[in-house]
């Protein structure tokens, strides 16, 4: 039992809390002619599921994808992403 608890609490599995990076992807996408999640996904080269996860704050994209998102909306990186941690 102890081994199982240690396994579940160790490393990646303890990362259930949301990443400290916030974003305005949904807001910017909707303000961009109601761009669909699929269209944004195609623009930045990820799946629609990943766009959904980013918008829900469940996944922080790679730096490359973050730059691609910012370029799609024609804004700076810090206009899309923010830091909400310590």
């Amino acid at each position: 039992m102890l081994a199982a608890r240690l396994f579940l609490q160790s490393g990646d599995l303890s990362m259930a809390k949301r990443p400290p990076i916030t974003n305005r992807v949904k807001e910017l996408r909707e303000g961009h002619d109601q761009m669909s999640q699929s269209a944004l996904a195609k623009e930045i080269g990820v799946t629609r599921q990943t766009v959904i996860a980013i918008e829900q704050g469940k996944y922080s994209p790679s730096l490359e994808s973050a730059f691609r998102i910012a370029r799609v909306f024609g804004v700076g990186l810090e206009d899309v992403f923010g830091w909400d941690g310590d």
């Binding site: 259930a16 599921q49 996860a53």
Partner: protein, 146 residues
Amino acid sequence: MSFWEKGYLATAGAVLFAGCVYAYLIWQRSLAAGALVAPDAVSFVTYVIVIVVLSALAFILFASRAATNPESADDVVDGYDERDKLIGHMANAKAHHVTSFGLYMALLAFIVHGSGNILFYTALGALAIGEIAMCLLRVYFYNRAI
């Protein structure tokens, strides 16, 4: 639930199903023989083929269903992206611990019993459990913040 999540759940189900059938057959044969029977190539190859065929059929079924839905069709076409790779990496790292633990138990069983048959079956079980763990962990990570 995304295309990949369904696929991994189906793979876990296929490994579990094939493993249970294989274990039942070995148990029946061992009861008849009065001792643990040695592994044979035919049963083992059949076990592997059943897993591959069931998993492939499940992926084809989910892909054909997704193709009829305009939204989820993109998920199949776009395939595997950076998040999928990260989740795969995280799940593999954890499942590796499960497999390793099982293999060490198999080696321990071999030391205790001195039976190559027990070593084979416990090692095979460890690999199957590791595969199931990998699939379930992927589904877990798909639904958690990473």
